[in-house]
Amino acid sequence: MTTVVLARAQWPADDADTELAGVAGFIESAFSPLVAAVAERCLSSFFGAPPAVLARGERTAIAIATSTGDLATAAAVATAVQAGRRVPPLLFYQSNLNAAAGYVAARWGLAGPVVCTMPGSACQPSATSEGQAEDLTSRALAEAHATAALLIEDGDADAALVIAANAYLGGAAFGTAELVGPSWWSST
């Protein structure tokens, strides 16, 4: 099936994007708020208010790729363990990127496969500058597209919300979301 990019969004989009909105139940890390923000912008520009049209949402996958992973959540767990403190239970729920995907899937009614990956060769270089960070986000986006293409080609989905999300220790966060699907979705 030939697919096209039906909608696109990113964070930050402009200078006004300085603080990601929090997501209830998620703490300490910008990662899940970043995924939620780009997903919301992308999906609402195409579907309007949530949820997605039932017949389309049921056939839409979520593919999230990241070159960083959720560093802040991993660090928060490690800090608590090292200090001999109890790990905050909320960190358990957000400890895997699938949780952010599940949040988006439930909110928008996207019932296709959920896949979270890290790009292979693309996750090796370290990001020390803004330029490299942008490069890593675009590589993650290419990776998420490749994963989504497998799901669509295989028939497990007709469309996919494709997300690249990189969130660094210290708070910098860069994300892009694209909805890919059949071209006829855009004309009806």
Binding site: G69, L71, A99, A101, G102, A106, W108, C116
Partner: protein, 391 residues
């Protein structure tokens, strides 16, 4: 050669099924669990039916609700352990240096706890992928799967897709998880670990899951590529399906809708009827909500055939290996088909009205299923079903 349809059902004398062109086959596997290193140790553990859980030994569990885990002996290092099983799988499949260098490599991993302690870290995975590639002669992984408890099975489904589309002829899929303090304390804080020290899938009185070490690798390839090398077919990858629940951040849908669609997709792809499936290796984490949801999914997909299909969750024996769990359980399913052994669903106390399944109880038992399903479900409603046929 005898006709497949007329083969005897007994454990011996079954003719080997020849893979047909266009089919996708598994020709290599390697595995290490708390039962030990190698498929023989795992098979012994499955046959014994004795769970591998002991007091966790690598870190202090003081202040935790739970204390038990299934650990490999000694001080295993993840990169070396994954490299070892991957090498085993490649050797078993007869892949030489040239074939390895040309193969595709997919890897499923959990967050690296050393990276989590590095303030300069730029990713959560660390050096394991490069280490495994260097040690095995495989290329750097094309992709790292981190999608929780379906990471390994999603990679296998993707491998089958790549081969089916003719874009790869051989894909090596590996995965590894070693129980560490971070994962133990994280899952303990989430109140998901069984405080009674046993995993009791689908049983009333089940208290939760327990973590277990798991390292596994499989070689997936086209039947043509396998026959060119004269490689032995261990099992056929007949079908696969992936789906989501669209229900909750971490909980599965109570009606099992996503997993049911994954099962139906796998059976449909393999053109196999539910009644033909002779074993289900269930996700069966042993948590109250998830097991009921999975039971609902199996009922939804199997309908009237649900009563005749034996089900067990071997997490009750080797524990939950998170991102590696679904690959461990695929290997278990291959071994079950090969050995003619349905592993026991250990820890069972009594029936749960919410989990009315035909469980393999008491002891592991002999049977020769033609088809077996391996089911997995994860945070975010992610669900996979892999359908295997005996070779």
């Amino acid at each position: 050669m005898r006709n497949i349809a007329s083969r005897p059902d007994g454990p011996r004398g079954r003719p080997r099924r020849k893979a047909e062109p266009g089919q996708i086959v598994i020709t290599g596997l390697g595995v290490s669990t708390a039962f030990g290193r190698g498929e023989d140790r795992l098979l012994d553990g499955l046959a014994s039916g004795q769970p591998a859980f002991r007091p966790a030994s690598r870190f202090d569990t003081g202040g935790c609700r739970a204390t038990m885990a299934a650990e490999l002996a000694g001080e295993p290092k993840l990169g070396a352990e994954i490299a070892a099983v991957t090498d085993q799988a490649c050797q078993r499949a007869g892949l030489d240096a040239v074939s390895r260098a040309e193969a595709d490599f997919l890897l499923a991993l959990h967050t690296d706890s050393d990276r989590a302690r590095d303030p300069e870290a730029s990713d959560v995975i660390g050096a394991v992928p490069a280490e495994v590639a260097a040690a095995t002669g495989l290329p750097y992984p094309a992709r790292i799967y981190t999608t929780a408890c379906v990471a390994g099975s999603t990679a296998v489904a993707d491998a089958a897709t790549m081969i089916g589309a003719g874009r790869a002829s051989q894909v090596i899929v590996a995965a590894g998880f070693l129980v560490d303090a971070d994962s133990f304390r994280l899952f303990d804080a989430g109140r998901t670990l069984a405080v009674d020290g046993q995993v009791r899938p689908f049983s009333s009185g089940r208290k939760g899951m327990l973590l277990g070490d798991g390292i596994a690798a499989v070689v997936v390839e086209s039947a043509q590529a396998a026959s060119r090398r004269g490689a032995e077919v261990l099992a056929l990858m007949t079908g696969w399906g992936r789906a989501g629940d669209a229900f909750h951040v971490v909980q599965p849908h109570p009606d099992g809708t996503g997993l049911a669609r994954a099962i139906t997709a796998a059976l449909g792809r393999g053109k196999v009827a539910p009644a033909e499936v002779g074993y289900i290796n269930a996700n069966g984490s042993g948590t109250a909500f998830a097991d009921a949801s999975e039971s609902a999914a199996i009922h939804r997909a199997f309908e009237a055939a649900v009563g005749s299909v034996p089900v067990s969750s071997t997490k009750s024996l080797h524990g939950h290996a998170l991102e590696a769990s679904s690959l461990i359980e695929l290997v278990v399913t291959v071994l079950a088909l090969q050995a003619g052994l349905l592993p026991v669903n250990a820890g069972f106390l009594a029936d749960d009205p919410a989990c009315q399944l035909s469980l393999v109880l008491g002891t592991s038992r002999q049977a020769r299923p033609r088809y077996a399903l391996c089911l997995n479900a994860a945070f975010g409603g992610a669900s996979t079903a892999l359908l295997l046929a005996a070779a």
